[in-house]
Symmetry: D2
């Protein structure tokens, strides 16, 4: 169940389209969960030595997505630079994690599923960046 | 999209029923997101002075749910006490947050939605506690 | 620099001895940082296959210590059960991480240093549990 | 106790000066703890309505500092963009939090102490940005 409904009950509306914002937060929290599971599954693989980079990129993605999901979930008196840099950091981590997981997608199904989730999160972040930029140019 | 599919692709199966485990992790990450939004929405209310306890309980719930979601998402060589105490801490935080949000559910819709999510997470944690206890008695 | 000074500037005093509380929070945040570095250093070792459990226990300890440090750092209108269960979860994770790191202390210096930090955090948590119990019996 | 000693025991040295890196990680984790306490202390003030922005900025700073401290603490096979964007997000959050806390420093001692910590973290992040840029130009 996503955060759009609760975001719409705020006493003041979010500074961007609530549907785009909610989609990004939902993908961030899902991505943090997927990357937690993928990093852990990589550790359980027989070829763990070949999965070190994947573990590492997934762990970063967990942290960056958790951070962005929280900071974007706060819409009371936000600092625009804090919001946009958290989003940029999340995008970077999702891309790095997706790229590495895609390299292992053929032999580890958890990497294939995780890469897909990282790309979904990347697209949702991109859409929110566009919505924020559009909001600024209108303002 | 939930974590059950990716949990099922682990090289070794989780120590408990993957459906029950996945449901708990999914509710934990959703609950962390809902409580982030509710704490922030409370801060934006005119009666913020009356919402201080609610902000506080929601912030705790964010942290406890994030922690439990991560620790339960790791099924490689888990320490049973670490798993069960993280789950107990999550349960306690969900209850405290639900109780306080329910007190404000009539006048703040975000509190009503957040209380419902905290109760869903509480039930999912209870179900996982039962599944873990059952697994131990079988072992 | 520790949190005791800032804890003492709260408008209302903490519910327990500020020195004991501050020491516990300080050890929690330090332990989260040490375990982050140790998990990552284990991943860089040639014998990474032998370090999987250590990585895993350290990652749990990062999350449990971060969670406890935050929840204990909040002293406004705390829920006693949320505080005590977060502390219990942190204790369990510190013990599990210390035990595993101690097994590798002879051949990996980061494990030796991390085990020492986990034990410091464990002792600080134990002292806070005692202070909280004592506070309850006085109340 | 800081992370420099444990960082120096990694099997491979960090990609930047360990003293500069360790100082940044240490300030990030301290800043997360200070901002947790300050946000909570603000909630306990009689003039909580005037402190809403400060609570909010401090909560963001907690998350951004925690994220940066973890991502920078991992030096195994790092993704440079993930590292630099996490650092930029931390810098932005520290500045926003410091600016708001400084506005309340005269009447709330926790804000004065928190602002000082945010500025220390900001300077440590700036120094790490400079060290990373210098490392790249040498490479």
């Amino acid at each position: 169940m996503g955060v759009e409904a609760i975001l719409r009950t705020r006493p003041r509306p979010p500074t961007v389209d609530p549907a785009v914002l909610a989609a990004c937060i939902d993908e961030c929290v899902a991505c943090a969960a997927f990357c937690t599971v993928c990093a852990d599954a990589c550790l359980a693989e027989d070829d763990v030595g070949a999965m070190v980079r994947c573990v590492r990129r997934c762990l970063d993605c967990v942290d960056a997505c958790t951070d962005a999901g929280r900071i974007l979930g706060r819409q009371t008196d936000p600092d625009p630079t804090t919001q946009s840099t958290a989003l940029a950091a999340c995008l970077a981590a999702c891309r790095a994690s997706a790229e590495e997981c895609e390299r292992h997608a053929d032999h580890h199904e958890h990497c294939r599923l995780c890469a897909e989730q990282c790309r979904r999160c990347e697209r949702a972040c991109d859409a929110l960046v566009a919505a924020m930029d559009s909001g600024e140019s209108e303002a």
